[in-house]
């Protein structure tokens, strides 16, 4: 484990990613302390430029942009993490079943996966949220529904290459049930690519969430970065700060998660250390 962390942190960009991510996490945890009260609260005069009182200025209604960024961090991280978790769980189960059993089940599941990969995912997500009506729950569902297919394909590939290995044959000879072989024997052996895919997916999920919120499809009761940018775009000319700072927050968070994900990839797959892409 320590060897893993050493290998992980020796990678300079991964270390930068971890630091950035810790910063965002800290901001999210401290949000209720640093900026107590409702982030939708009118904190001061409208469209106040950045000043010592309001670090990142205020928006058209006098909401504190800095408070919105801190509270938005909670939303983004939470939605990104939960949606990715749901997508990874679904994708893993479907991919495992398809890869392990093969035959008709595999054909059917892969066909469904292909269809989900063909349809334009962002438009699909928009439709789902619009139909389910905007809330944290429906945003999570929409992101998960459009994100699982790559995981399913990845896990299926791993299972295909593992299922005829000797340890699986041994388990079968011992009379182990299919379910136990899938979850207790094969799955632990292909966890590292799943972890890497899952961590990179959090970044995509946060981008998706911010896009939905920007279009006005976020939960109206929860502050988010995309919402702030959407609300500030009408005053772009006179109050650039309302849009600019939440966007930088998204950029840094997504960048951090990507760096961590790639660092994990390098540390977990030493064979691929010479990362070509």
């Amino acid at each position: 484990m320590t060897a893993f962390f050493a290998r992980f942190l020796r990678n300079r960009s991964a270390a930068v990613g971890v630091l950035l991510l810790l910063g965002v996490l800290l901001l999210a945890i401290l949000a209720p302390i640093l900026f107590p009260g409702d982030p939708f609260r009118l904190a001061g005069p409208t469209m106040e430029p950045p000043s010592p009182d309001f670090l990142f200025g205020t928006d058209t209604l006098g909401r504190d942009v800095a408070a919105a960024i801190a509270h938005g961090a909670v939303t983004s991280l939470m939605i990104g993490f939960v949606a990715s978790l749901v997508a990874v769980l679904c994708g893993t189960v479907l991919g495992a079943v398809a890869g392990y059993f093969g035959g008709r089940i595999d054909d059917l599941l892969m066909r469904i996966t292909e269809i989900f990969q063909t349809i334009p995912s962002f438009i699909f997500a928009i439709l789902l949220v619009a139909i389910l009506s905007p809330s944290v729950q429906s945003v999570v569902i929409a992101i998960a529904v459009v994100s699982w297919p790559p995981v399913a394909r990845l896990v299926r590939g791993e299972f295909l290459s593992m299922k005829s290995r000797e340890f699986v044959q041994a388990a079968r000879t011992l009379g182990m049930s299919d379910g136990r072989i899938i979850f207790m024997q094969i799955l632990p052996n292909c966890l590292s690519p799943i972890i890497v895919a899952g961590s990179l997916m959090v970044a995509t999920a946060i981008l998706l969430e911010s896009g939905l919120a920007f279009l006005g499809l976020g939960d109206p009761n929860v502050m988010s970065w995309g919402f702030m940018i959407g609300a500030g775009r009408s005053v772009l000319r006179s109050a650039w700060w309302v849009c600019t700072f939440p966007g930088i927050a998204i950029l840094l968070t997504v960048l951090a998660i990507n760096l961590v994900g790639e660092g994990l990839n390098d540390a977990l797959n030493p064979r691929l250390r010479e990362r070509s892409a």
Binding site: F214, C243, T244
Partner: protein
């Protein structure tokens, strides 16, 4: 002849995908609260229960679900996508008008993304691990993490509001009534910012892909042969490696078509580009589900078509692919 058979087979394979999308559309429509009659009745203000029941009967909404599904399918397959009660026009007509601008935006974006992506990828791969390579990698990393709508707005701030170089929204200058070349130039000026915004992410993707692809090819036997023949590195890269390294870029360009269409919703709504994406944005605001579903269906079909086209293109680009 063999190729024609292959093309036909691929086309036939696309049919179940389209059918599945139609079914999905129908299910989504069922999932939504209320139906077209509720909308109409709401619009009319006071509607008696008898009148509502009568309307339901007329639209066939009192039929069992599978009958409705059958009607829905026959409708869609004859390209009758329903009626937009907000815009008071058939959905298919609304979509047809908007298809052109979106395709223009897509094609321009693809040209920018593939063109510069390939170029930057070559530069990075040829200067492996030099400052040039690192700079390009950092650029790609940042582009990956940038939300489209935000960079679009920042472009507007810098290039339209501060520097006043390019128009911030729309496709043509309103009230200018340019004709001929003036009009082309005008549209091109409006196109630059949205296309640049939309291409940024894909530019980064193709750069990394191209770099990886060239590095992979660099170890191949034919490269060693070319070098042994005494060809210069430049000639090897541009005449031999480039062609082979381009194949994965073509594949991925097809795969990302769906993402590109999704991105266009955001970019078009930021720049007021009058395409399908802006139509979707408007439909979202006026709660026009019929229209939204129609756009979803058409864009999904577009992706299927592009993928089919790429598959066919592939048989020309890579003769090793078995077409039989």
């Amino acid at each position: 002849m063999k190729r024609l058979r292959y093309i036909l087979r691929r086309a036939v394979q696309a049919i179940p995908v389209i059918l599945a999308i139609v079914v999905m559309n129908f299910l989504l429509l069922q999932l939504a609260e209320g139906d077209a009659v509720d909308v109409l009745a709401g619009e009319a203000g006071s509607a008696t229960p008898e009148y509502i029941a009568q309307l339901r009967e007329r639209f066939g909404l009192d039929q069992p679900v599978y009958v409705q599904l059958f009607h829905y399918m026959t409708n869609i397959l004859t390209f009758d996508l329903g009626y937009s009660f907000r815009q008071e026009m058939p959905v298919s007509e609304l979509i047809m008008v908007r298809l052109g601008p979106t395709l223009l935006l897509m094609v321009t974006t693809l040209v920018i993304a593939v063109g510069f992506g390939v170029l930057l990828g070559i530069l990075a791969a040829r200067g492996l691990n030099t400052w040039r390579d690192n700079l390009i990698s950092v650029f790609a990393l940042i582009s990956y993490a940038t939300p489209l709508f935000w960079i679009g707005l920042m472009f507007v701030v810098v290039f339209s509001l501060k520097l006043d170089l390019l128009p911030a929204s729309g496709m043509e200058s309103i009230g200018a009534f340019y004709e001929g070349w003036d009009r082309v130039v005008d549209i091109a000026r409006h196109l630059i910012l949205p296309a640049l915004t939309l291409s940024l992410f894909y530019l980064a993707a193709y750069t990394r892909l191209m770099r990886a692809s060239i590095l992979e090819q660099a170890g191949m036997d034919y490269v060693v042969t070319a070098r042994a023949k005494g060809l210069t590195e430049r000639a090897i890269t541009y005449r031999h490696v480039l062609r082979n390294a381009l194949l994965p870029v073509v594949t991925v360009a097809g795969v990302q078509m769906g993402g590109l269409l999704g991105g266009s919703v955001i970019v078009e709504s930021v720049f007021g580009w009058p395409g399908l994406g802006l139509l979707a944005y408007d439909a979202l605001f006026s709660r026009d589900l019929n229209l939204l579903l129609g756009i979803f269906f058409v864009s999904a079909c577009l992706v299927v078509l592009v993928n089919l086209f790429i598959d066919i293109l592939y048989t020309f680009l890579d003769p090793r692919i078995e077409v039989g």
